[in-house]
C-alpha cells in the first residue's frame, strides 16, 4: 500500500477520485466545494484506490475508505492522521469535519469533539484553540448565571441604523448583550472593518459586549453539504446545525437566554435561518424577532442598500442609513470600497 498526493486539476486524477467517492456514497461535487480543496491524498493497493481524504482550509473533506480495507478502523485512523499531519505542516491546527451522524463515533475516537448534530449530519472539531478556549477568552460579566443575558449575531456588512436599533432594544431589555460579529471574510467589508464599526457604533451602550464569532457563528455560507442528498434543503440543514451549535455550545455555558433577530422581508436565506432558529432554540433560549427599523422616509434599512449606494457613490443616501461612525469610515474609504466590487 502506498499513499500519495494527487492533483485534482488533472482530469484523469479527478475522474478516478470522483468515481471512487461516488461508489462510496459521497455525491456532492459542486464546483465551489471541489475548488476549495487544497490537498488530496489517495491510498493505493495494487493500482486501485482504497482510501482518500482531502484538506480544504481548516476542514477535512471527502474522506472515504473501501469496505474491504476498513480493518476495524485502522485505515480510517491512518487517513485522519495523515490529514492532520499535513494540515499541521500548513500551520492549521484547528480542524473541522462535517459528516454523517453514523461516523461521529469514528471521529470521536481520533480526538474530535462533537459541536452539533442534526438528523442528517454533524460537525466536529479537533486541535487547538477549540471551543473551550474560545469561551474562556470571551469577556465575562459578574454573576453571569444570575443575569438576563441576550445575544445577537450579525455580519454587519456594514453596521447600519437597523443594527443599532436591534442592539439598543436588546440592551434596554436585558442586563447584558453579547454581539457576535461573523468572522468569515466573504463580505464587502472585511472582518476587521465590520468588527471595528460595530464596536464604534455601540460604544455608548455599556452593557453591550462585542466579540468575534470565529468559526462558531453563522459560517453557514461555507458549511459543506456535499454528503447530503441533492433533494435536501441545504440551507435548512445548515441553519439547523448552526442553531444547535449556538444553543448547546454557546448559549448554555454563557447563560444566554434570549436571541434577537431582525425580521427578514427580503432575503429568503435569512428567512429560512430565522425560521430554524425559532424552532431549535426555545424553550432554553427565547427568540425575539424584531421588526426592521424604517428610516425617516419610511424605508426599511438594510445593509444591502448601503452597499448598493456605495457602488453608486450616493453618500447622501448612505447618511440616512448608517450611524455617524460607519458613515465617516465609508466617506474616508469609498474609493477603496468601490474597488472591491
Amino acid at each position: 500500500m502506498e499513499v500519495r498526493e494527487i492533483d485534482l486539476h488533472v482530469k484523469r486524477n479527478f475522474d478516478r477520485w470522483h468515481s471512487f467517492l461516488i461508489e462510496h456514497g459521497i455525491s456532492g461535487f459542486a464546483p465551489q466545494e471541489t475548488a476549495a480543496i487544497d490537498r488530496t491524498f489517495i491510498w493505493n493497493e495494487a493500482g486501485q484506490i482504497i482510501a482518500t481524504g482531502s484538506i480544504a482550509g481548516n476542514i477535512l473533506k471527502y474522506i472515504a475508505i473501501d469496505d474491504a480495507y476498513q480493518n476495524g478502523g485502522a485505515m480510517f485512523n491512518q487517513v485522519v492522521s495523515k490529514l492532520m499531519n499535513e494540515a499541521a505542516q500548513l500551520g492549521r491546527f484547528h480542524l473541522f469535519v462535517f459528516t454523517k451522524p453514523k461516523y461521529i463515533k469514528s471521529f470521536s475516537y481520533v480526538g474530535f469533539h462533537l459541536l452539533a448534530e442534526v438528523e442528517d449530519g454533524a460537525v466536529l472539531e479537533t486541535g487547538t484553540p477549540d471551543i473551550n478556549d474560545y469561551l474562556d477568552q470571551l469577556p465575562k460579566i459578574n454573576d453571569q448565571h444570575d443575569k438576563k443575558i441576550a445575544a445577537i449575531v450579525m455580519n454587519a456588512n456594514p453596521f447600519t441604523l437597523g443594527h443599532r436599533y436591534l442592539v439598543e432594544k436588546a440592551s434596554r431589555e436585558n442586563d447584558s448583550v453579547y454581539v457576535f460579529v461573523v468572522s468569515q471574510d466573504v463580505s464587502l467589508f472585511k472582518f476587521d472593518e465590520r468588527f471595528k464599526l460595530v464596536k464604534a457604533g455601540t460604544e455608548d451602550l455599556k452593557n453591550v459586549i462585542v466579540v468575534p464569532g470565529k468559526e462558531y457563528m453563522v459560517s453557514y455560507a461555507t458549511f459543506p453539504a456535499y454528503f447530503l442528498k441533492d433533494d435536501q434543503n441545504v440551507g435548512r440543514f445548515q441553519a439547523k446545525l448552526d442553531a444547535e451549535l449556538f444553543k448547546n455550545k454557546i448559549a448554555a455555558p454563557l447563560n444566554i437566554t434570549r436571541r434577537y433577530l431582525g425580521s427578514e422581508p427580503y432575503s429568503k436565506t435569512t428567512d429560512v435561518y430565522n425560521d430554524e432558529l425559532s424552532k431549535v432554540l426555545p424553550p432554553e433560549v427565547e427568540v425575539r424577532i424584531i421588526e426592521r427599523k424604517k428610516n425617516v422616509g419610511g424605508k426599511i434599512i438594510t445593509a444591502t442598500q448601503v452597499r448598493e449606494a456605495i457602488q453608486r457613490d450616493d453618500l447622501s443616501m448612505i447618511k440616512n442609513f448608517v450611524p455617524e461612525t460607519t458613515f465617516d469610515f465609508i466617506k474616508e474609504n469609498i474609493g477603496l470600497l468601490k474597488d472591491r466590487f
Partner: protein
Amino acid sequence: MKIEKTALAGTVESSDIQFTLSASDNGIQIDLDSPVKDLYGKQIIQVIEDTLKAYNIESVKVKAIDKGALDCVIKARLVTAIQRSLGMDEPNWEVL
C-alpha cells in the same frame, strides 16, 4: 521556557499518540484523551511532565490523544513536538 508556536507530532493510529502543543497562559496544562486513562493515565502524564521538565518548559498547553502508546513512544512523539515548536533540528541529547 515557554511554548509559543503551535506544533503537532504523532498519529492517532493504534499504539501511537498524537501531541498538539500550544501557548498556555497558565503554566503546564495537560489534556489527555486515552482509552487506558483509568489504568495508565497517571503514568502517561508522568512521562509527559518529565519530558517537558528535561526541556525546561514551564508553560505549555498539551493536548494528547493516546492510542495505547508505550512510554518510549510517548517520549519520542513529545520530543518531536517540542522540537518542532522550538524550531530545533536535533534532540537535546544531553537531557534524554
